[in-house]
Symmetry: C2
Subunit: 229 residues, 2 copies
């Protein structure tokens, strides 16, 4: 890992063309050759960057300025990427040995929500029982396939935030599933921690029931000591 603070200008050419005028920025060169150009604000996204695998070639221009040319090695398809960094003045330059990172451990995303609901399907509706998680169909897996107290099939689509896309997805599943005489009639439940008003309107207009899920409450139903760290 090399860290450089320098007054520079940057040009990128690839899927688009982009230009950064002369200013002082942080240049981060990672061990895999990737380069990040960061300013002192914005978000975690760099102003400009080059994804690995790529290689940096260092040179000098006619007027003595330092020029880095970063080129992507293997553009599997289409456009060759190039990042050109013209350095006018270096304020800082240091290199550091970091070693490989053990990586991030996550907890709490949609997958976990799906697991919890699979263990407690009745929280979505009285008498609901699980038939299968990730129930396969020709156009993708249905998150939960259940059966209600009357034995009717119920397809459940789970999202963290319920938006219009999720309703469309469930609608496609229902349309397909209802062509199967062994399953039909299949009704739908759209389950999410939070459901956007527009998504709710669309869902209910299509006869899909909306279930707002209490993630922390569900967790409480499980063993509360069984946590990651």
């Amino acid at each position: 890992m090399r860290l450089v603070v320098a007054r520079c200008q940057v040009d990128y050419a690839g899927r688009l063309s982009a230009h950064l005028p002369l200013a002082t920025r942080v240049l981060m060169i990672k061990a895999d050759g990737s380069v990040l150009v960061h300013s002192d604000g914005g978000s975690y996204k760099p102003l400009n960057w080059m994804s690995p695998p790529c290689s940096v070639r260092e040179g000098t221009t006619d007027d003595g300025a330092i020029e880095w040319t970063v080129t992507s090695k293997a553009t599997s398809k289409g456009e060759p990427d190039t990042l050109r960094i013209l350095i006018e003045e270096i304020h800082h330059d240091s290199a550091h040995e970091l070693g490989i990172d053990p990586g991030l451990q996550k907890d709490g995303v949609e997958k976990h929500l799906q697991e919890l609901l699979a263990d407690h399907p009745a929280t979505l509706g009285e008498g609901l029982t699980l038939v299968r998680r990730e129930f396969p169909t020709a156009i993708g897996p249905v998150d939960l396939m259940c059966r209600d107290a009357n034995g009717q099939s119920v397809a459940v689509e789970i999202k963290r935030r319920g938006e219009i896309d999720g309703v469309e997805q469930l609608t496609r599943y229902l349309e397909l599933l209802n062509r199967d005489p062994l399953l039909s009639p299949v009704r739908g439940i759209f389950a999410a921690q939070e459901i956007k008003p527009q998504a709710r309107v669309l869902a209910e207009d299509r006869g899909i029931f909306c279930a707002v899920v209490d993630y922390d409450g569900l967790r409480g139903l499980d063993d509360p000591t069984a946590r990651l760290f």
Copy 2:
């Protein structure tokens, strides 16, 4: 901008919980208080981070280790975010004055594609003429509204890469537009530089024509000297 290279462990709690075991990493603290934790690989995305606005409080634990507590200031809705960085050993620590950045100048994204197609609608279909760009509907703007040689309305959805979502989007528009007796019947054109097979199948199954657009060719139709830099 402060740059720290340190052996540290990191815990995040917010919309999810995440943990980084002890390892050497780069910590970037921006002027707005945001913090980025970078390893020596991956992409431009940090292993963990805190978005602005937030504030860093520096302290020490009972066993003498340095502890940074980063808290988000204004969580407009819901979950308070916290990033805790426990530092065991500092390898490097420097601060730099960067100043405000003039920002990135871009060229070549979907907006430009839309402009080009608006100028040359006939490349999408014989005799097509533009009625309006960003044609407003209750569920969002249609990229291009055109009329064909027979005077029939044509709704065009433009993407850089045509995927299933775009077909769904255009389908919703068409469904709505076809309820308007002044416009109906409206047909659809799905235009993209590249159209995924599944999206093409879905589109054509719904009677939507797929147009693969040659971006560079369209550019050539325009004045080739009128470019950004």
